[in-house]
């Protein structure tokens, strides 16, 4: 169906941003505009649901900007766009009070709306050029959000963000140029297999590497992640939540499009095309696994809670990218991987936003981000504590909370992949998956424990509970987490099922069947339902979860008791160290003399 609504969804926040200029200094006016400009796109996108399910929505304007913009919405894009604008609504409400502690609120609101517009544009774009235009918006507009405080760490984080962003977007651009030259098109559809065999598979790998690396910068993939723990935590909390929960997904979405759509062969394609896809998938799994594992280690030894959450964002992106890789590796049988990745995108958005907002609420009242210096705040901030607890359960994959469902599906996907080729590295990946889940559990529960339980330091005895708008934001996310945790099939049926449909998976494949089997059991509640068909599957899922949680619990206990979490990695072993050093040299070589003087 042709409809201009996708364009409007991206345009309304831009219009809203400029409407802010009318009354720059009125707080209530600005709040109304910001919330209105986040709610409207959400409603517009929601109204598209019916037509998206029935074949997708597309729209093109040819006169702007030179090349023309085109929009194409399918179920996967719509799902991520919806969750993005949902996040923006709640975070905007939250920021009403939170931002009273900050100045330059106009600038914050202005660029927040522009970021929303760019983010939606990326998710709704119909071709890579349109996507790239919005992607560059997503590069520039968050800068003022990250650098909001204008102090040294904020500017440093923002600069790292910007230069990594520019560099990786150039990789993406190079990939697009190759794609355009070899296929003559930049449409987001399965065009890469059209590259004639005469050109060799090397070209395909070049395109895949360039584009995955290009999107990976935003997604925080390994080697390109080092900006993320510097940039996300220094922003004001609502912005951290948006960056970490929503914007990072633009990168995952791009990788998803490249791996799961661009390179998927059409019916009747040569076996070679499938092999190419499988190889791309394999390396995507590896990158995803490395990302998830090392990031969780870094998270365990962080004491700044926002920084820890940023590392978890990287780690959870590793899960998502691994799922995407599994789907490609499995070829026609990859339904499980895509389902898990998409589901985890949604879940991660919810619990990561809730975690940031909860930590932000604590920071708002105590002005303290170091979790080791907090404690016993349960009595002071019960609502925040409960919401944060729900989010912690969500991210740790505790049964009955949303993370359990998606992690279970992803776990199935990686097991599927191992059984597909019996590649021993994938067997190892499965074990790392479990260990990472354990680390996630340990570090998040540790954070919860340190902030809300234990001894309350004297200076925090008079801490007040979080203000109402912040509570609304947090409770909103907590409810969503609980809802998806208790009814995981709802999302699978309404959104992820339709998203799988156009991706060319074989509906009769084992994975697809299993997915629909698993569907009924991932909630963990299924064990209570009579007539659960494959009881063993349920038990198996619960068992993996219990193993992970048990390991995590042990890790947390041991860590807190024997101070494992206070290990510091030497500076020379961190990427950040070299990146910062290199950027310093690159950006102002003339300052070397002044360094020496100091």
């Amino acid at each position: 169906m042709e409809s201009s609504l996708p364009l409007w969804a991206a345009l309304i926040p831009i219009l809203g941003a400029f409407a802010l200029l009318l009354k720059k200094n009125s707080d209530s006016f600005r709040n109304a505009i910001v919330i209105g400009a986040s709610v409207l796109p959400f409603l517009l996108l929601l109204s598209l649901y019916g037509s998206v399910i029935n074949g997708g929505v597309h729209y093109a304007i040819s006169w702007l900007p030179g090349f023309g913009l085109s929009f194409k919405v399918d179920a996967a894009g719509l799902l991520i766009a919806l969750i993005t604008s949902f996040l923006w609504i709640l975070c905007s409400i939250y920021s009403i009070t939170y931002m009273t502690h900050e100045d330059k609120r106009f600038r914050y609101d202005f660029f927040s709306l522009l970021t929303l517009a760019s983010n939606l544009g990326v998710l709704l774009a119909g071709d890579f050029l349109t996507l790239f235009i919005f992607f560059e918006g997503l590069l520039i507009f968050p800068y003022p959000l990250i650098a909001h405080k204008e102090d040294a760490p904020a500017v440093k984080g923002a600069n790292l963000y910007l230069y990594v962003g520019v560099a990786t977007s150039l990789l993406l651009l190079s990939g697009m140029v190759l794609l355009k030259t070899y296929t003559g098109s930049l449409e987001i559809s399965a065009i890469a297999p059209d590259i004639a065999a005469s050109m060799g598979t090397a070209v395909k790998f070049q395109i895949a590497i360039l584009m995955i690396a290009g999107f990976g910068g935003k997604a925080g993939l390994f080697f390109e992640h080092f900006w993320l723990p510097e940039a996300h935590p220094v922003a004001p909390t609502p912005a951290s939540a948006l960056l970490s929960a929503a914007m990072i997904k633009a990168g995952a979405y791009g990788i998803f499009r490249v791996v799961n759509l661009l390179f998927v062969p059409q019916a009747g394609a040569a076996a070679e095309d499938w092999l190419t896809l499988g190889n791309i998938g394999y390396w995507t799994i590896i990158i995803g696994t490395i990302t998830m594992f090392f990031a969780v280690i870094s998270a365990l030894i962080s004491s700044n809670s926002k920084r820890m959450l940023a590392f978890h964002s990287i780690s959870q992106m590793g899960y998502i990218v691994m799922g995407i890789g599994c789907a490609a590796y499995l070829g026609k049988d990859g339904a499980m991987g895509v389902a898990g990745a998409l589901y985890h995108i949604v879940n991660h958005a919810l619990f990561k936003a809730a975690l940031f907002l909860g930590v932000g609420a604590v920071y708002f009242r105590t002005n303290q981000l170091d979790m080791y210096k907090l404690g016993g705040l349960m009595k002071n901030m019960p609502v925040t504590a409960i919401c944060l607890f729900i989010a912690v359960c969500g991210i740790s994959g505790v049964p009955l909370f949303n993370g359990f469902a998606s992690k279970t599906i992803l776990h199935h996907a990686i097991i599927e992949s191992y059984e597909h080729g019996h590649d021993m590295t994938l067997w190892l990946v499965e074990k790392i998956f479990i260990v990472t889940a354990a680390g996630t559990f340990a570090s998040n529960f540790k954070m919860f424990y340190l902030i809300f339980r234990g001894n309350r330091p004297k200076e925090f005895e008079q801490v007040e509970p979080a203000p109402l708008p912040m509570k609304i934001g947090m409770v909103g996310f907590a409810v969503a987490i609980l809802f998806l945790g208790l009814f995981p099939n709802w999302l699978l049926e309404t959104a992820i099922g339709p998203a799988l449909a156009p991706l060319g998976f074989d509906p009769s494949s084992h994975a697809y069947q299993l997915l629909y089997n698993v569907q009924t059991q991932v909630s963990g509640l299924a064990i209570l339902y009579p007539g659960a068909e494959s009881f063993s599957v349920v038990l198996h899922n619960l068992f993996s979860s219990v193993v992970a949680l048990g390991l995590g619990g042990g890790l947390m206990y041991g860590g807190l008791k024997y101070h494992w979490f206070h290990i510091t990695i030497p500076k020379f072993a961190t990427f950040d160290f070299y990146a910062t050093k290199m950027l310093r040299r690159l950006l102002n070589p003339w300052s070397l003399a002044s360094d020496k003087r100091v």
Binding site: P65, E150, V155, K156, N159, L170, A593, S594
Partner: protein
């Protein structure tokens, strides 16, 4: 279709006539500047009046007289010339306003000479844009050199003379030693030096001679600032900023790139270039220049010098576009003339605006400037977007075409060079913007320096440290200079952005070239 028309002559002669009026009105500054503005507008309309003809596929001709058998002095207007001509005409109008604001704010001496030379240089530039053969182009090429010399040495200080002489030595030296033999060689082999759509060089002559002539052309066109013949351009930054803006960002340097494109497209022709593999040679030189100049730019702390090195780098983009020898690449190269012109002139305008307001010339002194001069720095930011090539700013469109062109030509390494160069562009322009808006003005207390030195990417700088004690007062009382300065730079910034949104206009001109 070739059409005889006097319009090119009118467009070229207007600034020459205007320059006479400028001299006559030397005693009345307002009248003098009025003459400049009227001339600029008249020339603009004269140039624009040729647009419909050119777009309908015609090539306008006007021959003054035959200088030598089959070497006439005359004009020919095609798509490439038109792009260059329009860009020069539009930017001259804006620069005129800007010069008035700039020269009067700083109370510069010898303003009549300044505006007179400016007008004559524009005469020569339009002449170069509309020349119908290398002989005419050569005359105008040299005229540009001569009449920009008084502008470069405007300050008449020892340094200005030294740098002015360097300027003259490089530009005249290359053109006398290399360009003249190249043109004579062309005449010897081809029997004429006319620009035709597919080149005039015969294919059946000694290849060594052809390659030699081509190399002489490249070396002779000093205005394109190939490394290592580039150092006149940073030296010329001693000139007042409007000169740097219009002449050393648009008119003079684009004449260089324009001449090289003329040689590639209209003298040798794409077929012959391909046959002799000359494209690759040119591309290698251009790419070396692109990267090396970017590194020089990163290393320079003087704002204008940094912009000048960026110009050196960007000029080679245009040449690279031609050297790729694919229609898309050439499109990108020609488009980049316009895209670069508007972005770069904005950057220079901003540098001048900052100088007028603060007397600061070093990049390291510009922290926090955006808060005091928001319009100037916003324009600078937009121009930066264009220079880095971030959509939808203009620079993206030309970069996109260049990149597609380089893959079409199967020269993948040029793709890497273009991407690297864009990154380097970001490295040397973006910090200026971001520090301008997000860093505090230099608070030069020792402890802040010590504290910031480690974790900050942009630590305090030498220049700032020297002016110790400025703490926070460094930018006190600074505000935007007069509207004559600020409005033109905002307009050029907007134009550079709009060109990215509507590149069709430019594409049509280039389209008619390939019909």
């Amino acid at each position: 279709m070739e059409v005889e028309s006097i319009k090119p002559l009118l467009a070229v002669l207007t600034p020459l006539i205007g320059s006479v009026f400028i001299l006559m009105a030397r005693k009345k500054p307002n009248l003098r500047e009025g003459a400049t503005l009227v001339t600029a507008f008249v020339m603009f309309f004269a140039v624009v009046s040729m647009v419909p003809d050119v777009l309908s596929g015609k090539t306008l001709h006007y021959t003054l007289f035959e200088f030598w058998p089959s070497v006439p002095i005359g004009f020919r207007v095609d798509g490439l010339g038109m792009v260059f001509g329009i860009v020069a005409a539009v930017t001259w109008i804006l620069t005129s306003f800007y010069s008035i604001g700039y020269m009067r704010s700083l109370d510069e001496h010898a303003q009549t000479r300044f505006f007179f030379c400016f007008a004559v240089t524009l005469f020569a530039t339009e002449g170069a844009a509309f020349s119908n053969n290398w002989f005419t182009l050569f005359i105008f090429y040299e005229l540009i050199t001569f009449f920009t010399y008084p502008l470069v040495t405007h300050h008449e200080s020892h340094e200005a003379w030294e740098k002015g002489n360097k300027y003259l030595a490089y530009l005249l030296g290359t053109s006398k030693v290399f360009l003249t033999p190249a043109i004579l060689g062309t005449y010897y082999y081809a029997g004429s030096v006319d620009f035709t759509a597919n080149g005039i060089m015969p294919q059946n002559v000694d290849q060594v001679m052809l390659i030699g002539i081509y190399i002489f052309y490249l070396a002779g066109i000093g205005k394109v600032a190939f490394m290592p013949l580039h150092s006149w351009l940073p030296a010329s930054m001693i000139a007042p900023t409007p000169v740097s803006a219009l002449l050393h960002a648009v008119a003079v340097v684009n004449t260089g790139a324009f001449c090289v494109l003329r040689v590639i497209i209209n003298i040798f022709g794409i077929d012959l270039m391909q046959q002799l593999d000359l494209g690759v040679i040119t591309a290698v030189i251009a790419c070396i220049t692109i990267i090396t100049a970017s590194i020089y730019a990163m290393k320079s702390n003087n704002l204008k010098e940094r912009i000048a090195y960026s110009t050196v780098s960007q000029l080679s983009y245009m040449v690279l576009g031609g050297a790729l020898l694919t229609p898309t690449g050439i499109r990108g190269g020609i488009m980049h003339i316009a895209m670069h012109a508007f972005a770069k002139i904005t950057l220079f305008f901003c540098a001048g605006s900052i100088y007028v307001a603060t007397k600061k010339t070093n990049v390291s002194e510009l922290n926090g400037i955006g808060r005091k001069m928001p319009w100037t720095m916003a324009a600078f930011a937009i121009a930066t977007l264009s220079m880095v090539g971030i959509p939808p700013a203009g620079g993206f469109v030309s970069k996109w075409y260049l990149m597609i062109g380089s893959t079409e030509a199967k020269e993948f390494w040029t793709l890497i060079v273009l991407a690297t160069s864009a990154l380097l562009n970001a490295f040397y322009f973006v910090p200026i913007v971001m520090n301008g808006f997000f860093r505090d003005a230099q608070d030069e207390d020792a402890e802040t320096t010590l504290e910031n030195a480690r974790p900050v990417l942009i630590p305090q700088s030498v220049g700032a440290a020297a002016s110790k004690g400025g703490s926070g007062r460094a930018l006190a009382g600074i505000r935007e200079p007069s509207l004559f300065v600020v409005v033109p730079l905002c307009i050029t910034a907007v134009v550079s952005f709009v060109l990215g949104m509507y590149p069709e206009f430019l594409l049509e001109f280039i389209g008619v070239m390939f019909q």
